[in-house]
């Protein structure tokens, strides 16, 4: 079956521009997660959705970052006024219902480069 899909796969933009990153989770998965992975480093958790709600947004790095999810499906991560330190791979994952025994299924990420 189809896995988690992210678009675009690569994005290059100038400092100060806004970017939108899209995630299409596995159909029927109610839990959705966003992570950031800087070059050579581990995954940094950003935000978690259960359905269309994000119970805790405090993991977002700054107020330039926002995320939404609609229809318990697609999610968009928006970064406003991008900075060079935002350069990273942004990964999305989904799981069946967010319960502790449900593994996460990851997309291959969006590689964001800020010039």
């Amino acid at each position: 079956g189809a896995g988690v899909s992210q678009s675009p796969s690569n994005k290059v933009t100038e400092k100060g521009k806004d970017v939108e990153l899209r995630c299409d989770p596995i159909s029927g998965h109610t839990a959705l997660y966003w992570y950031r992975q800087r070059l050579g480093q581990g995954l940094e958790f950003l935000i978690y959705f259960q359905g269309n709600s994000a119970p805790d947004k405090s993991g977002l790095p700054s107020d330039r970052f926002s995320a939404e999810r609609t229809g318990e499906s697609v999610s968009t991560l928006t970064i406003q006024r991008t900075q060079q330190e935002d350069s990273a791979v942004y990964l999305c994952a989904s799981s069946l219902d967010g319960q502790l025994d449900q593994p996460q299924h990851f997309g291959d990420g969006t590689r964001l480069s800020i010039l």
């Binding site: 581990g42 995954l43 940094e44 805790d56 993991g59 990964l91 967010g98 502790l100 990851f106 990420g109």
Partner: protein
């Protein structure tokens, strides 16, 4: 906050068994232990998950002692294609949860 600690890197040779240990001293009662594999330019891929004792699937085994303060991922007879970064994750995601830096496994011919 269930912080995990893993070795930064490991080397092995084809055909050997590889054991990667993760320490998670303050694991909570309800936490599960999950291992992921990541290749360059790809997202992490689920390998195995367990709560206690031993779990085995077609690719790996996971050993968890009674106190659950550590876990060991065992990869039998590794091949060159097992060269990757392996992450241990404990518990549920929230803003305090982090994947560690992972263990970079290099399999040599």
């Amino acid at each position: 906050l269930a912080k995990t600690t893993q070795p930064i890197s490991m080397d092995s040779y084809e055909g050997q068994e590889v054991n990667i240990t993760c320490s998670h001293n303050n694991i909570a009662t309800n936490d599960y232990i999950t291992w992921y594999q990541q290749f360059p330019s790809q997202g992490p891929r689920f390998i195995i998950q367990g709560y206690k004792t031993k779990v085995t699937n077609e690719v790996a085994s996971l050993f968890i002692p009674a106190d659950r303060k550590s876990s060991t991922l065992s990869l039998p007879r590794v091949s060159l294609s097992d060269t990757a970064v392996y992450y241990c994750l404990v518990g549920r995601l929230n803003n305090d949860m982090r994947f560690g830096a992972g263990t970079r496994l290099t399999v040599k011919p």
